[in-house]
Symmetry: C3
Subunit: 317 residues, 3 copies
């Protein structure tokens, strides 16, 4: 089956998922991002790569934080950025998603950055748009959040250099996490030695073993000698249903404290996609500690999004 993210020359024309992307594409994105990281230190933090291009942030689901990172990345590339809160707009008037996309395309969009509560919405859009238009998935349902996955890979590579010897543990609400999915696919492609999932049974999806992931319900065992710990955010609403007893109980068993962190390798790094629930999935002593690289993730995230947008804009279908 044709990979909808690549053009006929095998170049990245949309970023929809880390799943199915070849290793050389992932590495090319990380290498390109690396060239943008030093920009942050310069007086004028801009490059003219997307000058005169139009980037539309189509957020069907509100996320100021993610929207802002893409807006910063696009402006650093000198693009014109248009933020559309689509909920408040045409969909409430009964227009279909594809009519909305056709209209914005007719306004001469170059890149659509799409956040949608429905898994697969960015695929639908990518299938629909003309060849010169590019779609970047900024999170679709529980499916994928590929730029978060890529910035996680960038962060790991930055601190650990090589994936081939690494044991990486993903901890928390894996069942509902598009970040976990994107991380697992990218880690697998990049050749991580071992990927672990640690969570209570109620927050573990099926099929992890088939993806090559080792599953743990106990932090002591799961964190044993790992190099990288990726903590996931626990949505407060999970507490309300039958999935979890209480946030205190969760913290006791799965919250990352210094004591639990001590099971990992001494030089293990601690990551979190944000926003953090301090005292729920992570203790402040860890979040603010020496091993946390959480703010590095945010910083690298700008460079990774610049890389993705400049790479897809250079491709054609």
């Amino acid at each position: 089956m044709h990979n909808p993210q690549l053009n006929r020359h095998g170049e990245l024309t949309h970023l929809l998922s880390t799943e199915g992307l070849p290793k050389d594409i992932l590495t090319h994105i990380l290498d390109t991002a690396q060239t943008f990281v030093p920009l942050a230190e310069r007086e004028v933090k801009k490059v003219p790569l997307l000058r005169g291009k139009s980037v539309f942030n189509l957020f069907f689901e509100n996320s100021t934080r993610t929207r802002t990172t893409f807006e910063i990345a696009a402006k650093r590339l000198s693009a014109d950025v248009f933020n559309l809160n689509i909920n408040a707009s045409s969909t409430s008037k009964g227009e279909s998603l594809l009519d909305t996309i056709s209209n914005l395309t007719a306004m001469q969009a170059d890149i659509f950055v799409v956040r949608h509560e429905a898994s697969g919405a960015p695929y639908l859009i990518a299938q629909h748009v003309e060849p010169h238009i590019h779609v970047v998935n900024a999170g679709d349902g529980r499916h994928a959040h590929p730029t978060q996955g890529l910035l996680d890979m960038y962060t790991i590579r930055h601190f650990k250099k090589d994936f081939s010897n690494l044991t990486v543990a993903i901890v928390g609400d894996i069942l509902h996490s598009r970040v976990a999915r994107s991380d697992i696919h990218a880690l697998t492609t990049l050749g991580a030695a071992e990927i672990r999932a640690i969570a209570p049974l109620t927050l573990l999806p099926g099929g992890l073993e088939q993806m090559g992931v080792r599953v743990f319900t106990n932090m002591e065992q799961g964190l044993k000698d790992v190099d990288v710990i990726i903590m996931l955010r626990l949505q407060n609403e999970r507490m309300k249903g039958a999935l979890l007893p209480s946030s205190q109980e969760y913290f006791k068993h799965y919250g990352l404290t210094r004591e639990k962190l001590a099971y990992a390798k001494p030089d293990a790094i601690v990551m979190h996609p944000g926003p953090m629930n301090r005292g729920v999935e992570i203790d402040s002593a860890v979040a603010d500690g020496d091993q946390a690289v959480i703010l590095n993730q945010v910083n690298f995230g700008i460079a990774v999004r610049m890389a993705v947008m400049s790479i897809v804009a250079g491709a054609s279908q």
Copy 2:
């Protein structure tokens, strides 16, 4: 009476309505827009005509789509754009419309793009502002939506070249449509041979005949041999009152299907201001068919709004 849209030299200084604009001004706008259309094909889709100028999008009524088209047009002209959702702001604090305008003027605005639920609000603002400031009406109540009217004229001229032999039918909720009013005035001034209105009696305003419009309540008769069909959006809320029985009933009689389209000339074009209600006023087979030029309208709309803003900014009162 002095035309409030023109300065003493007869130049366009505000765009408030297509009503009362002389033919040479309309033609000048369309000609100017034509110079901007090829920009969309260029790598850098910008011209520096409004560099350093400030365009304020004052939307007292929410419309992401229209606001975005003006924002794109202004940024393509290199202006700085400021989006103000005024409902959420000072008017809720009891400040008068004119005090709000005076304040924004003191912030050195150059162009106000105004959308307001009250007919005439852009006129009030235009009367009030200083001579170097320009007002563009982006839709006021049921009164006028002149840039939509102008982009409709651009689209017709693009596909049909000359107005003098054309029969144009406007179909649907004419009673509540500012688009219909703006189209009728512009078509009249540009010399369209015949203008028709087709709608159920409950959606027809009085006074159409006095404007030179032929009125039909039957699609077969109304569409007979027309060159251009302008479909209007049917607001869902019309169904709730006593004006219409149901959307199925409406579609049966007034929805544009292939069968009804066959009454028109074989090369007739089908237009719609968007957003479309597929299956209510228009069938998907027509909306996506060869005769539909709906997305061309959107594309030309950017160029027309660039033309309007660059023309008024070049005038002084």
Copy 3:
């Protein structure tokens, strides 16, 4: 105690309050603003002082007007501006203020413009950020609104040249006004001869006399021979509690009419921070009269905010 607004060289690195700022810093801001005022008359109203820098408007409390003035000022300085309505964002997800700030810092912010309903929030942020980042207070609780205070000083200096002979009356809801506080501190530092507060007892805070302010509850006595009148906005919600009988009653006693204005010097100027409640704290005949300089304040406000942002961005901690 170390002044948190100044770096070790005594340069302004954050603007948090007019309180505690030395006279030469206040004068430097006003002098710098004066160089930006003529920009408004130029074709291209921009200077490249903050090109490539990122200004984040962090509005934890909605204020379209103030946010817009900062956005204009930042864009005139050629900065990239990011508007974040933080209520709708991470704080609703339970993230702490300082985590939000850390994240935005990691996105390589240069200046945070902060509006917050809690007094002191901008101080907390300023203590927390890295040395190369600058915080500008755009209004915190009842505490301070220093750029409003500074634009008031600019306006007074523009019309009255020298502070040393001036009697300035501040009239209205002083109890709840961060503007009044910022004005009193700045006027004191700049050497105004006499500062008066005029209000009903229920709207007078304690401690004014200790700040050197003469307190009046009667307009005739309080306005006698003043050079400058600063009217404050009366929040409508004050009427609902026990603080005031009715807006008619308030207008009768404290509303600035031509008759009451006649108590002041003939060349007294009338100021108001906006938005005005005409017929409550000020009569339209005065608001629109020759002595009103209310729109000048708005105009100067852009230049003052440009001055503040360009000055802090030039300092380091």
